[in-house]
């Protein structure tokens, strides 16, 4: 038995990956099914109870990943709905939308939620503080949905292929919509996370996920010190070994069992709609 398997079995506590992605046949890569299978394989080793996932249109095959066309958004959401139907015990869906197409985006949210989606995924199609995001946030507030927003930690310039936002941009949106919980994506996903923490610390309705390929020493300590364990969600995004490493590092930096449990799953259970994770122990009883 591997160390990871031992670890998952020994802990016996739920684990929610708040930032996952899957692929589909029109995503432009021949190995799409193998990549999905690898996520499930690694998830079982790590002990992931639920993958909270989205599909980003065609991932650039027929429109840009971060500016997906309405047709690609719908196609990706369809694939995600199909996957949820096939894997009801371990996959949950975020509806991907492009806020430049307001009517389509609102329609996709309604369609996804009617079939069980538990949140909204925003890419980098429009700056986070742009007024075009307001109707989407209002809908999320009315439906009790969190919004996971792709983030570049401290944007210092424009980058190609995306209209990137950082923590300060997201904080401005969050201040306009205090009833919505915004999940700031992947503090390890590129850029300077040390800019992000003070940028969002004053917005209690912004939480951060730990995902991303970055495993800088000091990053987790700073996140916990600045935001507190109650505002952090565990996640992997594109690299699951970094997710497992962060899980082990969180134990090594001396968090209490309560803090670890909060990051592993209880914060997610609090933020997403009630009943989203029936395989997790009663979440509402734990604060």
């Amino acid at each position: 038995m591997t160390a990871a398997r031992v670890e998952a079995a020994a802990l016996g506590e739920p684990l929610i990956d708040a930032h996952a992605h899957f692929y589909h046949a029109a995503a432009g890569r021949a190995d799409w099914a193998a990549v999905n299978a690898a996520r499930f394989r690694a998830g079982e080793r790590i002990g992931i109870t639920y993958h909270v996932a989205s599909i980003l249109g065609s991932y650039g095959f027929s429109s840009p990943t971060y500016f997906p066309s309405p047709d690609d958004v719908t196609m990706g959401n369809d694939a995600m709905l199909d996957l949820c139907a096939r894997e009801p015990d371990r996959v949950r869906m975020l509806v991907t939308v492009n806020p430049n197409h307001t009517g389509h985006a609102l329609g996709e949210i309604a369609r996804g939620v009617s079939r069980g989606a538990i949140g909204v995924k925003l890419l980098a199609s429009r700056r986070a503080d742009d007024p075009l995001l307001d109707p989407l946030a209002q809908t999320a507030a009315e439906s009790g949905l969190p919004i996971l927003h792709h983030i570049w930690q401290h944007r210092r310039r424009e980058w190609p292929s995306q209209e990137i936002s950082d923590g300060a941009d997201l904080a401005r949106l969050a201040e306009r919509h205090p009833r919505v919980t915004f999940i700031l994506a992947h503090i390890g996903g590129g850029g300077d996370y040390m800019h992000t923490f003070p940028a969002i610390v004053g917005c209690p309705n912004v939480v951060a996920d730990l995902s991303g390929s970055g495993v800088d020493r000091g990053m987790l300590d700073a996140a916990v010190d600045t935001l507190g364990a109650s505002r952090l969600l565990w996640g992997c995004d594109l690299t699951m070994e970094t997710g497992l490493a962060k899980l082990r590092a969180l134990e090594a930096i001396g968090l209490s069992a309560d803090e670890l449990g909060a990051i592993r799953w209880r914060n997610a259970a609090r933020i997403f709609p009630a009943g989203s994770f029936p395989r997790c122990a009663p979440a509402t009883a734990v604060t």
């Binding site: 990549v35 690694a42 996370y193 020493r217 690299t239 497992l244 490493a245």
Partner: protein, 254 residues
């Protein structure tokens, strides 16, 4: 298991918590690692790394049973040959060089001379592709990543050469490996500190195509979480799970 890619000392572009040798030994214990090859992190950014080497030797002396020094040698600096001999006398298994930080191009003849000189003394030449993700670098950190061209030029320099290339990703590894003859490929070892695991499974793909015997265990502590390469190995698919990496002590004649 030995960590070939550990460092001590501060990093100029961001705060790094307690990068000290006594802490490193405790981390090795926690992670079940028997020892580490250790460089001096600030020396990568000094014009003359020799004083950094002096500090490195002194700092590691109390931990000689676990930590082996890997000093930095700049081959365009006067009397660099003496620094190589000093490294040899100090029991170093390898020496470090930082061509991008020292603005030495991919075909710099002094780098080839250094690689050969180290190899003739039974030491590897340890190269660093990057210290940080490109997307987070300080505005004054303009060196750029070590290129595939630079690595393959050194791999072709001669039979004595042994390279340990750290912090490379799949694309760079494949570009270098498949640009070399089988004999030249055998001179190059890669640490796994920056290679992606599942779901893309880059490490597994490299084990299948290039072979696990071309890889060594490395963490890039204190910059990165020590837990990461171990997690990567723990998540390998069944067909390559448990694959044996190269023994760093076996690739150098010391």
């Amino acid at each position: 298991m030995i960590d070939v890619n550990a460092l001590i000392g501060p990093y100029p572009f961001r705060y790094v918590p307690h990068p000290d040798p006594d802490v490193l030994v405790r981390v090795l214990d926690r992670e079940g690692l028997s020892g580490a090859w250790v460089g001096d992190l600030p020396s990568a950014f000094y014009r003359d790394p020799s004083l950094g080497n002096r500090d490195l030797y002194a700092a590691l002396a109390p931990f000689a049973d676990r930590l082996r020094p890997v000093p930095a040698v700049r081959p365009d600096w006067p009397r660099w040959e003496v620094a190589v001999r000093d490294a040899c006398d100090a029991g170093a298994p390898a020496i470090r060089a930082y061509p991008p930080q020292w603005q030495l191009g991919p075909h710099d003849s002094s780098m080839r001379e250094l690689a050969i000189a180290a190899g003739e003394q039974g030491m590897a030449l340890l190269l660093t592709v990057r210290f940080e993700d490109l997307r987070q670098r300080h505005s004054m950190d303009s060196a750029g990543d070590l290129s595939a061209a630079a690595i393959r030029a050194l791999a072709r320099a001669g039979n004595a050469v042994r390279l340990v290339v750290t912090a490379a990703g799949r694309d760079l590894i494949e570009e270098v490996h498949w640009s070399l003859t089988p004999i030249e490929q055998g001179r190059v070892y890669w640490d796994i500190s920056w290679i992606w695991g599942p779901p893309e499974d880059h490490l597994a793909k490299l084990f299948r195509t290039i072979g696990p015997e071309r890889f060594v265990f490395g963490t890039q502590w204190p910059l990165r979480l020590t837990q990461n390469p171990r997690a990567n190995l723990d998540l390998l698919p069944e067909d390559v799970f448990g694959a044996r990496l190269a023994d760093p002590n076996a690739i150098v004649a010391r």
